[in-house]
């Protein structure tokens, strides 16, 4: 709760105005029974119709005032919710984008998505109700007690006792809810995960006739989830009747005690008791709304923690701009690296590389040999790297992220397509690119035929995650995106794996012309891809086990020869 207040702090003015309006509106409601009791006492009993007219006029005024206050509050409140939501969403989104890859991975994509979207929506809702709860309940409570104090202190005491009692009861019955919310949410995630799996694996599932098995699996998660939620909803549903019962008992108490006091205290009037009964009803309504909110406190707490966890993460990366032009001479000396604060087992050991401007360098190795990790170190995605890494002889620690990433373009192993046109996707590599430049990149990346096959051409809309592209097409869009960037080093991380040899050959031919004198680093599992590089690093189990030209490696490096033989027939007949 307090944390939420912290987020509301910038809108102090609005929040206070909202609270003031709520308070005024509450006072208006409280005054209605007060006026009414006067009607009974002085109007009806004295048979003074003119007095009744006056008082009814006053009540009408109060009713209109109350509505006006409520409408103003509503407006201010909507403005506050909107501002709060936008600020929070902006903050969290930008914080997440500022994280480094490692921190991001630690929290996890799915969880971060929920935190940035659903969690904040949920807080929006609560924030909108918070001022009402915070203000109306105390005002009603204090006002009711003060007004009934005017009649008789005993009646006021009964009123005073009710509220804490109700809150206590609520606190007791909502005890186990927090755990169940968590469990319910856990199983929601599980259910969604299974459904996701069922959708992505539908071919395999159908091939093995496992549809009904998968259905049972997800239904089971759904059942556990529902049990938790239904149970909690039942509890929060019971709060209202239970609270009402307590209020009603207080009503009876006031009636009974009032009837006794009436006979002993001269200034107490029947109308006062009638008014007090109505105060109870008013206070009761406010408490019910508060109770509803309290029932959700555990959930708010969890959500707030989840968001704070993100908000409190240290900014991983400096966002400063850089104009630094680098040649792109990359040198690694005795580099070791392990994931997770460097405590785990080393995934890279004693890496030495020396890549000069204009080189076309291949990195080959099996899966899990550390190729992609090496590339990520070149991109400076991770901290805690041991050994020397330099770019143009400048140590990585002295370079900003922008220095590194402005000068290195990369087509990542996981091809990413953003919702938008082909052109927009490509221009992410260089937002100032001219149409001619885009067309050139398209041509080099062997996308020309694809672009021309669609009426919209470059404006062809790609749906989220590239659902309307094949794996090879996604790779080529990613290649186009990377080569349009004006960099000195171009890295292709397994970017040709979904391309057939023919397409790859054509692409690489054009690439060599297009990226003349620029450095190319080509990560691959294919010998046919590696053999077209000037120099090849062979990786195995996190180490570099060979380095040289295709011919040299074929002679000296057993790992390389093995790869080559298995893929290209091993007749040793190298076409030249």
């Amino acid at each position: 709760m307090l944390r939420l207040v912290k987020y509301l702090a910038p809108y102090k003015g609005t929040v206070f105005a909202v609270m003031l309006m709520y308070a005024l509106s509450a006072v208006c409601s409280l005054l209605m029974p007060f006026v009414m009791s006067n009607i009974i006492e002085f109007g009806i009993r004295q048979e003074d119709m003119a007095y009744i007219w006056w008082m009814c006029g006053a009540m009408m005024g109060l009713a209109l005032l109350s509505m006006t206050f409520a409408l103003i509050t509503n407006y201010l409140n909507s403005v506050m919710v909107s501002k709060l939501s936008v600020t929070m969403r902006k903050q969290v989104f930008e914080k997440v984008n500022s994280l480094d890859v490692e921190k991001f991975g630690k929290v996890g994509t799915g969880s971060l998505i929920t935190r940035t979207t659903e969690d904040i929506s949920w807080l929006e809702e609560i924030a909108g109700q918070l001022p009402y709860v915070v203000v109306t309940v105390p005002v009603m409570f204090v006002g009711g007690v003060v007004l009934s104090m005017l009649y008789d202190y005993v009646l006021a005491l009964i009123l005073l006792a009710v509220s804490p009692l109700i809150l206590l009861v609520i606190a007791l019955i909502t005890k186990g809810m927090e755990k169940r919310w968590q469990r319910g949410e856990l199983y929601t995630d599980i259910q969604n995960k299974i459904i996701r799996e069922r959708l992505s694996g539908i071919r395999v599932i159908r091939a093995f006739e496992k549809d009904s098995y998968e259905h049972a699996r997800s239904s089971k998660a759904t059942r556990v989830m529902c049990n938790c939620f239904v149970r909690n909803n039942t509890i929060s549903g019971i709060i209202t009747p239970l609270g009402t019962l307590l209020l009603n008992i207080a009503t009876v108490a006031i009636i009974y005690v009032g009837s006794r006091r009436l006979q002993t205290i001269s200034w107490l009037d029947a109308a006062d008791i009638i008014a007090t009964i109505q105060y109870i009803a008013l206070i009761g309504n406010a408490i019910m709304i508060m109770a509803w909110t309290i029932a959700f406190v555990p959930r708010i707490k969890i959500t707030m923690q989840r968001i704070d966890e993100v908000a409190n993460l240290a900014y991983g990366e400096q966002q400063e701009q850089s104009d630094r032009q680098l040649n792109g001479d990359i040198k690694f000396e005795h580099v070791n690296f392990a994931y997770g604060d460097g405590k785990g087992e080393d995934v890279l050991t004693d890496i030495n590389i020396d890549i000069r401007k204009g080189d076309v360098v291949g990195i080959i190795g099996g899966t899990g040999s550390g190729k992609t990790t090496l590339v990520k170190l070149i991109m400076n995605f991770y901290e805690n790297v041991r050994g020397n890494r330099t770019l143009d002889s400048v140590d990585y620690s002295e370079l900003t992220q922008a220095d590194v990433r402005n000068n290195i373009a990369i087509a990542l192993q996981k091809s990413m397509i953003f919702e938008g046109t082909v052109e927009e996707n490509i221009k992410m590599g260089n937002k100032d690119a001219t149409e001619q430049q885009v067309m050139n990149a398209v041509d080099v990346a062997q996308l020309k035929q694809f672009v021309e096959s669609h009426e919209e051409g470059l404006q062809y809309k790609l749906i989220q995650a590239g659902g309307n592209l094949s794996g090879g097409q996604k790779q080529r869009v990613n290649i186009a995106r990377s080569i349009i960037k004006d960099a000195s080093v171009y890295i292709f991380d397994d970017s040709f794996s979904a391309l057939d040899y023919l397409t790859e050959r054509n692409l690489r031919r054009k690439l060599n012309v297009y990226l003349k004198d620029k450095t190319q680093i080509i990560v691959t599992q294919r010998a046919a891809t590696a053999m077209r590089c000037d120099k090849v690093y062979v990786m195995d189990e996190g180490k570099i086990v060979g380095c040289g030209t295709h011919k040299q490696l074929l002679k000296d490096c057993s790992v390389y020869k093995e790869i080559y033989d298995s893929q290209l027939g091993g007749d040793g007949n190298v076409g030249e």
């Binding site: 009414m36 009607i39 109007g43 009993r45 048979e47 119709m49 009744i52 009540m59 009408m60 009713a63 209109l64 509505m67 409520a70 509503n74 909507s78 919710v81 909107s82 969403r89 989104f93 984008n97 994509t109 979207t117 929506s121 992505s200 694996g201 071919r203 159908r206 091939a207 496992k210 259905h215 939620f229 039942t234 549903g237 239970l242 009876v252 009974y256 009436l262 029947a270 008791i273 009638i274 099996g366 899990g368 992220q401 990433r405 990542l412 996981k414 919702e419 094949s470 097409q473 995106r481 979904a498 391309l499 057939d500 040899y501 790859e504 050959r505 077209r532 295709h550 298995s566 027939g569």
Partner: protein, 596 residues
């Protein structure tokens, strides 16, 4: 043209508000007993709750009479207080019972039942539906829409059962006290309902806009986070922030409007209630002076009028949420109504030899872009068929058709002479084991993942399969061995190892025919060499379809199909095709060519 028009019109009608509401009501049939019970409980509840103000009124009269000089009879007051307590306690118990009934039967019926229905439906939807629908959308149907549906259904049922009974009873009570006072209170009801319904329908427009921008925001965030590495690598943080801000600006505007609109109803309903209150005081005051009603009756009317506020407000809310429910329900119903896979027309059993024949097969995912054109192919049992060709040429489509993930547009596919559309899908698929390029493992143990294709596999068989796939050693090196849980981002298992697990799975399944679609694309070369031997053994005597980029793995195929732009451009053995010196030869040689 006109035919398609009437068709869209019919579909539109099918999801009209009226029909959907009727359907929602019909859907309640299985829990009709619970609803009936709820109605009875609610009825009792209403009776008890309207009696209470009556007692309060009587006591008020006694107290008022005292201030006019009549002494209070203690016994009478105590008796009334006890009656009042009983009425209050009864109301509380019955209300709680209503809540328990509603959440445990109705909510459960919707939140659980509907989701299970969707999950069940997924079993029978054609793959084309799954391919064409974003995963997030299906999940959002299942989660958000169903939960919105159940919340509002809850409100609506409660409203109809309890709210309306309550309103009617209260009005009757009021009339019994005094017609004019009753009129003062009830004349404002229709006005209040109409007004809030009007506002609700107005605000629905804003909620719609809000939800649209909300969806946009969510999918943008999801995209940014899934493409995090790309965002980092291209320094796209600022670009993304800017887009985010643009969407947020619109989002802020819409959320503000929809909050404002939906917040208007309450103050206006409150005003109507207050006006009624004032009217009762005025008219009641007049009648009390003229001795037509007593003060106690005025108090009773005021209490009854207060009780009216709750059902009124829920009617107002209910009106607002009906539209939303209908929208959500329609999205859910559309999934439930989606065309299912047609059933096999007859139950002919394939012979199990493994002859496969394609006869004049045509197929297109998108009717405007024919992909497979007049494909003819004849494979004898036990032959190895390799399919090669550029990406996007239709290689995987052949697998889709063979497994009946999609059905041919025209032509026939025969297995052992039987048209596969005549065979039950499951029986057909039982003939095949397949390994795909996109390895698919579900979240579960390594063991369960291997045993996926054979439910009754013994431990020895599973381990044997893992050994054959050269993954046994790796599995044993995992801390939990075969019990290791595979999770979404299983960092401890590489994509190559995942693929080996799927190979072990296919091996264990032991089917008559094999489909290997880039089955070893992620496996490192050394392991691949080892695997190849096992694969050859596996393919022995089985009709197999192999798609591979690495031509070295297919040179020994019985038939090599070279597919380009959807049709077979060349067909033959490796030697024959090389001699032909056509497209295949070009592909084959391209991998040996150096670029300089």
């Amino acid at each position: 043209m006109s035919a398609s028009k009437t068709k869209t019109k019919r579909i539109k009608d099918q999801y009209s508000t009226r029909r959907t509401v009727l359907r929602l009501v019909k859907d309640l049939k299985p829990i009709a007993w619970a609803l009936l019970l709820t109605a009875i409980v609610c009825g009792g509840n209403v009776a008890l709750s309207v009696i209470a103000p009556n007692y309060v009124g009587e006591i008020s009269d006694i107290l008022y009479a005292y201030s006019k000089g009549t002494p209070i009879v203690e016994k009478q007051v105590i008796e009334l207080c006890i009656k009042l307590l009983i009425a209050y306690a009864g109301t509380a118990v019955l209300s709680m019972l209503t809540v328990v009934l509603m959440t445990n039967v109705t909510s459960r019926y919707y939140t659980y039942g509907m989701r299970v229905r969707i999950s069940d439906k997924l079993q029978r939807l054609p793959i084309a539906f799954v391919d064409g629908t974003p995963k997030g959308e299906v999940i959002s149907r299942m989660m958000n829409d169903v939960s919105n549906m159940s919340t509002t259904i809850h409100v609506i049922i409660e409203l109809f059962i309890s709210g309306i009974i309550k309103l009617v009873v209260i009005v009757v009570m009021l009339v019994m006290i005094n017609v004019w006072l009753a009129l003062a209170v009830t004349v404002l009801i229709p006005f209040s309902i109409l007004l809030s319904a009007y506002i609700a329908s107005k605000s629905e427009k804003y909620w719609k806009k809000y939800r649209a921008v909300n969806g946009k925001l969510y999918s943008f965030v999801e995209e940014d986070y899934t493409g995090f590495d790309t965002v980092k690598a291209f320094n796209l943080e600022q670009r993304q922030s800017k887009i985010n801000e643009q969407i947020l600006q619109e989002y802020g505007k819409q959320i503000q409007k929809s909050w404002w609109m939906s917040g208007i109803v309450q103050p206006i309903v409150a005003l109507t209630n207050n006006i009624a209150y004032v009217a009762v005081c005025l008219i009641g005051g007049y009648f009390a002076i003229s001795n037509i009603v007593s003060v106690g009756e005025i108090v009773e009317v005021i209490l009854l009028a207060k009780m009216m506020a709750a059902p009124l407000e829920s009617i107002a809310n209910g009106m607002g949420s009906i539209n939303r429910t209908v929208a959500c329900a329609n999205r859910v119903y559309k999934v439930l109504d989606s065309a299912e896979m047609p059933l096999a027309t007859s139950e002919e059993q394939p012979l199990g030899k493994g002859d496969v024949e394609f006869v004049n097969v045509n197929f297109a995912y998108d009717k405007d872009k024919p992909l497979i054109k007049n494909l003819n192919l004849s494979v004898k049992a036990g032959q190895k068929v390799a399919i090669v060709g550029p990406t996007g040429g239709g290689k995987t489509t052949i697998v889709n058709l063979l497994m009946r993930f999609y059905d041919v547009d025209s032509g026939k596919i025969l297995i052992d002479g039987v048209d596969i559309t005549q065979i039950d899908r499951n029986k057909l698929r039982r003939q095949f084991a397949m390994v795909l390029q996109d390895t698919w493992l579900f979240s579960g143990s390594v063991y369960d993942n291997i045993a996926y294709g054979k439910a009754d596999a013994t431990k020895e068989e599973v381990e044997q399969a893992a050994k054959k796939a050269h993954i046994d050693h790796f599995i044993r090196s995992l801390p939990q061995g075969y019990d290791t849980e595979i999770s979404e981002d299983a960092g401890n298992i590489s994509s190559g190892q995942k693929q080996l697990l799927t190979i072990a799975r296919a091996y264990l399944a032991d089917r008559k025919m094999l489909i290997l679609d880039e089955a070893t694309s992620n496996v490192d070369t050394r392991t691949e060499l080892l695997i190849q031997r096992m694969m050859d053994e596996l393919m022995q005597g089985r009709t197999s379809f192999v798609i591979a980029h690495r031509l070295s793995t297919i040179v020994n195929a019985d038939i090599i199909l070279v597919i380009n732009n959807g049709s077979i451009v060349e067909q033959g053995t490796h030697e024959q095709l090389l001699k032909l010196d056509g497209f295949y030869a070009e592909i084959y040689n391209s991998q040996y060519e150096l670029l300089k």
